[in-house]
Symmetry: C2
Subunit: 238 residues, 2 copies
């Protein structure tokens, strides 16, 4: 039997909660995890507050197979994620000599104390790098610490694919119909009842000329998923 | 003293967690709440599971001044929000005659049992409508139940502005600089320390020709906010 690992995302960012910008990282993480055969099971977005972040990291780390944080990893006063992750595990924070050296090389010996704050990591953390992404990612227990800047967050996904494995067992197929959900419901109910291993989603489309309702079928068994789709198709054609 | 009400968003949607679509509603809600003088303090995204939704509604309802849900309000098997909100408050669900009548009129007497499921609401809920939005929104205790379809969600925001009042006490100003965060940090630290009533955010920009770091200043006192911005500006010009 296939075991699906369950991940949680923790987005740290006043800028998202205040509406200054829209989060762009959750959908990228969701697609990456799915391609790795993982399920993103919960997302939490909270403000830049040390104790709040630490408490949430602790709860999510215990409740899920892995936690992926976004944001709060720069050198300034509002970058609290490294300290919060350390606190969640009762660890202290240290400056890592190998990271200090990378920073000194990057700034050709002109690195400030501010720049060198980027060398800090919780004691006991794993530092994961690849040849393409030499700057390491902090992994503390089952918590992956990613930056919030969307372009860098997206680049880091190759690391996840490498570490988690890219072999999605999920199969998804769709069916588009001009029926509205009210008319579709009895057919959907019959298909859902007859195909318990398939997750059926129904999504009304707003002023979409190609369909009024999009129906998705998800599961681990390709035959079962396509059978469910075909069963709905047959009912609608009848 | 100004009291800021704290709101929480609960997004219900397998389609977001599986990465089929990106959430579009959180940023819209965040901006609306901010314009109303409310703070969006927490966002949670969870799957379409009745007991999970009910438990989360209960937690958020007790922890925040109001909860705003997105998704799960259609007539199909994966639309569980109305039942979950009822369950969270120990209420049953009833079919509301006034809503049944609106549905019958909308479908000119051809409404199906599926369509009529849209008339269901928790016993004890308030139904809030406006002349522009005649289809009512369910408000159970402090929980506002909104649809997930982004176009409809956005339309519903006028209801919130009307009910919560559109009189934001928040003042936000920005400063853009070509300094990176490592160089900026000592100046930021000095300004943060000297202006405790102002929330200062620092955001590195990725390959943005106009600035390397965007600094934002938020607060309730316009004079204090602009003073903090001016103080940083003066330090950087010095």
């Amino acid at each position: 039997m296939t075991t699906i690992h369950r991940g949680a995302a923790l987005v740290i960012g006043n800028e998202i909660l205040s509406g200054k910008i829209a989060d762009a990282n959750v959908v990228v993480l969701a697609r990456t995890l799915r391609a790795c055969g993982w399920s993103l099971s919960r997302v939490v977005i909270i403000p830049d507050e040390l104790d709040l972040i630490a408490a949430e990291v602790q709860v999510l780390s215990r409740g899920f197979d892995a936690v992926f944080t976004s944001g709060g990893v720069g050198p300034t006063h509002d970058d609290l994620t490294v300290d919060a992750v350390a606190k969640a595990f009762g660890a202290t924070v240290e400056s890592v000599p190998a990271l200090e050296q990378m920073i000194e090389e990057r700034y050709e010996g002109q690195a400030t104390a501010g720049h060198l704050r980027m060398a800090r990591a919780p004691v006991g953390a794993r530092l994961v790098a690849t040849p393409e992404l030499p700057w390491p990612t902090i992994v503390m227990d089952n918590v992956w610490v990613f930056p919030g800047v969307p372009q860098i967050f997206a680049m880091k996904m190759s690391l996840l694919r490498q570490e988690l494995g890219a072999n999605s067992p999920f199969v998804t197929v769709e069916l588009k119909t001009q029926l509205d959900e009210g008319h579709l419901k009895p057919h959907l109910d019959a298909v859902v009842a007859a195909h318990p291993a398939v997750q059926v989603g129904s999504y009304p489309k707003w002023r979409d000329p190609t369909c009024r309702t999009l129906v998705t079928f998800d599961g681990l068994d390709e035959a079962a998923v396509t059978e469910a789709r075909d069963a709905l198709y047959a009912r609608l054609e009848a």
